[in-house]
Symmetry: C2
Subunit: 221 residues, 2 copies
DNA sequence: AAATAAATTTAGACAAATCTAAAACATAAT
DNA sequence: ATTATGTTTTAGATTTGTCTAAATTTATTT
């Protein structure tokens, strides 16, 4: 695998993520995601095409090539492994690691990341519950149900967070909800779809529909 | 501490190192050290001066400012802590970590490096025996001498090998001496200047004067 | 289908870091 | 002290990634 500039890697990663959620990606989407201008995106699309990382025809849209997807997955692998390292080994809060991982993900050594993976015990998900691609770019999709769809009375383990904004993460931290936390839905208020939930089999707290929709859990049956 | 480009950081680091060894640093030295051209160095000197990281007057030479030295020391701190991490935690060989650390040293988070320091147990020297500056940029100066001049009773870390012939390396390997190995001189026999040394705080072995003259160690004070 | 709006691309510019070739300066040698 | 040598700097160009403003293409409305 060749080396690409940090900027190119960021474009590939952004396009990959946008493809996952939207299906179709637009120049504007990318500009918005990367906090830049549409004209800059167009410029970069041409460069990515020239390097065969992207299938692109002017005005007709674009998508990652096989190679582009492969590169994107390796960046994501690095990002998530570093996040895991920061939280599990350096004891960072899970809400403060994203920014640092944005830098670390561009360190190029493949051997470094494979040794880091081994050192960490080959974790399958990062601190936010997102799956970590393996050395070949493969990863197991995790089945997740959002809190709103966890049946009342059932308990589940938090396995992922949708909205990972600092504000959301701060709220979850305050309510002591993190990855792996056991949660039981006690009551759903039809009025506003707010929930009363029991956290860690201990304290009962209330969360809004917005929060519930962005907390994913795994549960038996 | 502000953030500077990787390129600027590399210049500061190079100038710092050249100041240490030569005393006086020249444009050519820096160009040589950084594998670049003298004209490029001059360009950068002007930029570093504009940011008050360098005292510089055209044709009259230059040296780091207080601030420049401070920044350089923080880069060196990061470089050496990452090297320590790579060798001690990820089990890299001491001879393969430099290049990777050259990238890692430019990761900006101060909190990251302080937490890494803590995670590693506040090591005082890197795998090559070079001192790691603390969070304030302070570090204990180390002396480098050949084994024959390491005071009896003092411990030092192997930092270099003079004669690197295969025969010498084979001997050192057999006695389990490599770069970074801790050695304490137990006794010097006046008869032939042969030494009894304790290796890795464990086994005591004997080496000839010829060997001792070609093994260099660094030690505090 | 024509007009309007929105998205996308081009054209031309800029900053950072580098380069080559030529000019300016300093040093050493006769 | 003048010349020869070597070092350092300037001038002008290049590359990468970005920008603004204008032009072009596509989509939406009426």
């Amino acid at each position: 695998m060749q080396k690409y500039s940090s900027s190119k890697e960021n474009y590939l990663k952004a396009i990959f993520h946008l493809q996952k959620s939207d299906g179709v990606v637009t120049t504007n989407d990318v500009a918005n995601e990367l906090q830049t201008r549409p004209a800059s995106v167009t410029d970069m699309l041409k460069k990515l095409k020239a390097q065969k990382l992207l299938i692109y025809e002017r005005y007709k849209g674009f998508k990652l090539s096989q190679e582009g997807r492969k590169v994107a997955l390796q960046i994501i692998r690095k990002h998530r492994l570093w996040e895991y390292f920061l939280v599990e080994k350096l004891e960072f809060g899970w809400d403060e690691v994203h920014e640092i991982a944005e830098e670390l993900e561009h360190i190029s050594s493949k051997k470094l990341i494979d040794k880091l993976d081994e050192f960490l015990g080959f974790p399958k998900t990062d601190p936010h519950g997102d799956p970590i691609p393996d050395s070949q770019g493969k990863f197991t999709l995790v089945k997740q149900v959002d809190l709103l769809h966890l049946p009342v009375g059932k308990s589940g383990d938090v396995s992922g967070i949708g909205d990972q904004s600092p504000e959301m993460l701060e709220l979850l931290k305050h309510k002591q909800i993190s990855l792996g936390t056991r949660i039981e839905v006690k009551k759903v208020f039809a009025f506003d779809n707010s929930l009363e939930i029991k956290v860690r089999n201990q304290n009962v707290v209330t969360v809004s529909e917005h929060v519930a929709k962005n907390v994913f859990v795994k549960y038996d049956e």
